[in-house]
Symmetry: D2
Subunit: 476 residues, 4 copies
């Protein structure tokens, strides 16, 4: 297979339609959805006992929990005089070190795999896992599988690296992943074969929602074989679209890099009469990165996201607004998330027919690029009116996703990794480390992959964008 | 007065002793502590009605509230079958735009003042206030007082700037504050005289806890005169030590700059045999910036904070640990918060006697610098043992606090400012905009200045530092 | 006209063929080529007299000159015992302030125009011109024409800005040009009409070789009308391809930004099995930016420049080398200057036929993009062999050219601007400010536009690239 | 020995007085001063033959030379009709690869040592030496001595590292030197003993003028023993004060970091009424870094350098100028090179008497810090006048010198290293690689250490600073 990509992330497994259209609601989660699987009773005292403070260590099975919804109207209102049989509101288990653990660290063999697209901070997470496993727990053997799930299949991928603390000391200073990555799944049976062959009892899976669903399949195969292998996910999504994660690791770094690209577009736009800077950012289903980058840079005049339908034509359409902007200020900066205006891309495909040299084998895929569609539609619109414009199209995706993690993302990744190690050592499985209202928590994989986080167009983030850009809340 | 400072923030009004030694506990807050004062009933429809989404606007008096403590053990456990007269747990009022407002924006005259030390993001906040007041509400007259509270006293400070949207468009690209700042208070009577003279009905005060206590005095004077002037605080603390603020604005930018200084210290330390890099960071009472910077940079071997007593001598003392580190690795990086080891500074002052050229008029103040004390004690220690060391002392405070806000701090400042404007327009007063578990909330000034936030040495942040550095949890 | 560009600079007026194929030789320059035109005798004492040091001021007509070629073999060898009638070797006039000047600064009206593509540092040059004219010479009236030569034609472009020192104080902190720019020429007659109408006697033209040839036409028109208007060029070329300029302003900043893009490509390439990062950089006729960026980043494995013919096929062809690289290291980073392999683009155009949505009106122009051609040829090559590759294509041109000037470029731009002002005030015309062997010199426009600077493939820069990348000196 | 330093470079061996006061003149150099020593005839064909282009390789003994002084008035004027016995003007030998070399690379054992203070780019040079020796010439054994000349003495310093290409691939991404450094000399006899013991025939010495004089002593000892060991210097000086080097490596990176510190000072100064930002930069005898940083940042109002006598008092003194600046603009930024105003430091020492806690053992050394002296004198001056000021003192030296090399410094270091390797392999010795008028040249060590480069206060750099800051050319 030859994968050739022009900037922009390749397609992923599609999310189910209902999740795309219905925004998430915490009320759709029940207490039972939040229970974490464990491999068995914790038989060993943690090596952290004695080293860490009293309150820092949770008693196994006694860790405090935090409310899924901490608003008075959802929790407290029902409290006074509530019937005794009212079910408890949903709560997450707090992450963190436990006083007792399931695995004997001295014998434990661990695997790490990174899947899906690049994202700032992956190397920080790998580093954090290896250092915490080694220095805090004394784990001796850590395999780093190469190039995603492919490396978990014997005979297909390359041999895993044997990771040691001294190898990872400064890997966080570079972007990407030292293990390499790939997209797409592999047969769970073959993957579990490999885990068994290598004697691995804890697998850390760093990846997005497709990957995490793959991890669930590995868990199912493990359970079918009655093995005691823990599978712990570390959610990676540059789009920030995995639920129950306040902010995904690397998101801040990526948004900062995206803000730089918007700044470039602004410089280009102001450099020409009727200059238009058009920046396509990541965001297949969720416009978080477009919103945050636009707020950070403050030069964007229009932010187009998947959550808001993009109508181009008509008096209230985008093109008319763009026209007015040019009349008033003679330049404009547009930020478009790659998942915005998908219905326009379908139309474009039908109109344009056979692909040019930038199309792929099947001829059409490339045409679905909203950035190019928008570029052409804008050109046609102003061309038809005899208005001279100068449009510069910027597609910075690869340069955004390959930056090293920012300082605060580095701190975050380190804590994400530590908590993943604590969770796995305590025998938790089929879960990921989430971050909810500022605390690290355990989130069951099936729950995390059931919802997708999107920008709520009636909530504060989108309002903030509307106020900052001056654009209308909707087009058309 | 001549203020001459060697890097490092000047002394502030002292915090009360009990707050320094007893770490904050949310259980010490009661519901009544969280009530927000209002100037009167909201008589005007907000200009944002119609522009913003339905759910984005809170009904006046009906805004949802969020729990101060969202842990199951504190809230939910007491729930089922609780007696009907159990008081509600404390909750914060959510910030955000209201459907109705107290002031007529067309007539409103507003003042902005920035006080205390510099911090990344002040210009972002000023910009956000001016843009939101102007574009969202249509406020016409905004005064920017010069050089802190001093500018609020007629005849003493300079005349205020009249701020307009086009003046502040790009001020966020530079650090510091375009208004200037100063420390210390002024007579509340004179300040309110000025507000009355200028017809100001809403005053935004950007400053730390001393400033916020000053703001409370202004409120008291306003109430004494039965005026309807709203005073809204925007908490500024590079030390991140104001409570009920998950993370203060500019903190992340400052921690990133501090991480750079630690990196320099590491380069210096590894460049010499038995090289020691010693970095003094801000943190008079709270070690947050030292902890975060050390985690972000990963090169620090020792992090010394005010919350952990610093014993230098003895087998478990700091100097012995430093000795071992040099024996093993031949270099060491030490990060010390300026408020750490204050008892050592007292001793140093007694020993040294009259000050050299770096002391101030009173002779002693400069000697309390823990960085210099530590530098001298380390030199004496190894000198006494005949061990050659090369110690480089770095005091980067001014270079840290003067950086422009990072992209994510910029987003944060913008939202902080927007919510302060919403609060003032709705007639709230004697409050600040806080951020609690990821949400913007209203926090009464008396509550915010009653506690100081410190690093809890039995909680996760400190554990994370201990694991990252390998240092012991305590010295001595 | 609608100009829609996908990253990458638009086509320029073609250079004459002979200059493209025959590398420049300093021996083709004669003394007479280096004579600078002057408008007349210098009638006024410079206001800098008394302010600047004795040696800093050149006596008019007596400024020292520097050798075009300072190698012994060219100059000194012929020296001892040379016949008395041997002509002097070519020398440049040194730039710098003169003791006497041609214009009365108090009455002088000045114009500034920026043309062609963006480049880091243009705002620095504008700032430098305005500050030097104002503060050093006391010039009162400075017009900034909008959007290139277009702004010099009355009734077509917008009205010029009136530039004052306080307006330009911090414009150098942003990329681009505050005046705006455009490509293409205008009628010299109309432009000189405008200069006369506005009473302008000195015009500073910031632009590339096309622009500078345009400036020559303005001079011809000025001479035809017997006007005393000085026209001084400031050479702007992000490709560093203007001769007699050691390094063009902004080049270093652009190369640094390009090195970042190569680093991204490296992260992408190492992140996938058989990962290929392909970066297209500027460089229509000269590969300087590709070479410098590759040397600065050190991650590039192949650097393809216009000066070296690119053969893809055959045992010594590029594709075979790429194959070997993947076999050995499983990833590769390729940097290609936009002007490399143009013969391959012609072929591609013939093969591909009608354009897709990324082609322009005439259908073919876009196909000449060597980046896309190379991307497709690589994909086809490995696809035909059944080798799975993952290729990421990065086209960072707009993000490179829009960065602000680096600190050292800022210093350089400031000095470039100062010397342009000195030259114009002394009545020099039809010249540009060059930099030769570390000194600022006066270069006649006809000479500067006669040669193009290219990478000499037998000299040190190219050798340095070959040694750094390990690639062969030629392909095929 | 315990070396404790507050920011700022430690004292170096003093330069001879005459060089400090008399600025260098190229006319003081004669042809014989420029002759390079060689160890013997070149017996081996270079492995680069066949790989590099024809013109890239110099014939041994036939390399072209470049004029020391390329000004017409010095060279050409005397040309036509000159007497046949007129001596040739001084010329440098061009650096670069030779067709034949002196050493057999397969057998050659090489040493590298880094001495003196840190400077950006040292790791780049080490990396360049190792890669060029290994990949271009096939040298097998390269020793990296630890911590300066100390590592060259058996039994005193640590064992040398054995450097291999794969170890140095990414060391340039960090500042400092992986070998470590130290100041001060060692016995040449012991050092040559070590070279002999290890079988080293080529030693690369990276260091400043003290170090290079040390290298000369090593050469003398080598010659005394009739050994064939090449000693090649690579001049390292963050102050840019070594002659015959247009710009020293790392200087640009350091000046950029210094410009950042000035920007901080500006933010601090504008943040307070009568705010003064005072930045002390490196520059013991030469103010290059102060000048360049001030030009790059454009926020400095006063630049004080060793080359210009600093008079504080009197109507034309510095303090009066500062007063006027505050009266006009209410803030000021001062940049002072550490070597400026040394006569004031002497006075200060006499006045102050016994040192405070920041003084060293002998009590006085610390008082010579012009930054602190100036800080105190300014405070006293305005205190005496009853003018309130707020002065912030910034001493960023360690943070400046520890930054990684900028992209263009990286390119420069790579070429510096390559040419040093070419020179050593060809059997040249007691020389350094210089850069003269844009070309790499061979400079004899005795010549390079005979002159110090200083800012010529009647030439363009200083004029440029005066025009940019608006300060007077001299004080008092």
């Amino acid at each position: 297979m030859v994968t050739v990509s022009h900037s922009g992330s390749p397609p992923e497994v599609e999310w189910r339609a209902e999740n795309l259209t219905i925004p998430e609601r915490t009320e759709r989660v029940e207490s039972t959805d939040l229970e974490i699987k464990v491999l068995g009773p914790c038989r060993y005292q943690s090596p952290l006992v004695g080293r860490l403070g009293q309150r820092a260590l949770h008693q196994v099975g006694e860790a405090d929990r935090v409310l899924l919804d901490d608003r008075y109207s959802r929790v407290v209102a029902a409290r006074a005089g509530a019937p005794a049989d009212l079910p408890d509101p949903p709560t997450f288990e707090l992450a963190g070190p436990r006083d007792r653990i399931f695995f004997d660290p001295a014998k434990l063999r661990v695997g790490i795999v990174t899947c899906g697209g690049l994202c700032p901070g992956i190397n920080n997470v790998i580093r954090g896992l290896v250092l915490e496993l080694t220095h805090a727990y004394g784990v001796q053997t850590i395999f780093g599988f190469r190039f995603g799930f492919e490396g978990l299949v014997d005979g297909v991928g390359q041999e895993p690296l044997v990771l040691r603390a001294e190898m990872v000391g400064s890997i966080h200073q570079q972007g990407g992943t030292i293990l390499g990555t790939s997209r797409g799944g592999q047969d769970p049976g073959q993957m579990v074969d490999r885990l068994e062959a290598l004697g691995i009892s804890a697998l850390f899976v760093i990846g997005g929602d497709g990957t995490l669903r793959g991890a669930t399949k590995i868990v199912q195969e493990i359970e079918r074989r009655h093995l005691t292998i823990s599978v712990v996910g570390i959610p990676k999504t540059i789009d920030n679209d995995i639920h129950f994660i306040d902010r995904s690791f690397g998101f801040e770094s990526a948004a900062a890099a995206a803000a730089d690209a918007i700044r470039s577009a602004h410089v280009e736009a102001t450099g020409a009469r009727n200059g238009i800077g058009l920046v396509k950012l990541m965001g297949r289903h969720s416009g978080f990165i477009a919103c945050h980058a636009a707020l950070a840079c403050t030069d964007a005049n229009f932010v187009l996201i998947p959550e808001v339908t993009l109508h181009l034509d008509g008096e209230a359409g985008f093109l008319r607004h763009l026209e007015r902007r040019l009349e008033e200020r003679a330049h404009a900066v547009i930020v478009v998330a790659e998942g915005a205006g998908q219905q326009l891309c379908k139309d474009a495909a039908e109109i344009t027919g056979a692909g040019g040299p930038t199309s792929d084998a099947s001829g059409n895929a490339r045409l679905k690029d909203i950035g190019l569609v928008l570029r052409d539609r804008i050109a046609r619109h102003f061309g038809g009116r005899g208005t001279e414009i100068t449009l510069k199209y910027i597609d910075p995706s690869y340069q955004i996703r390959s930056v090293p993690a920012s300082p605060s993302d580095s701190v975050y990744c380190w804590n994400m990794a530590r908590n993943a190690v604590h969770a796995a050592l305590a025998g938790n499985t089929e879960m990921l480390v989430g971050r909810w209202h500022g605390r690290f928590v355990h989130v069951p994989l099936p729950l995390a992959t059931r919802f997708r986080k999107q920008v709520d167009v009636e909530e504060d983030l989108w309002m903030s964008v509307i106020e900052a850009t001056g654009q209308p809340a909707t087009f058309g």
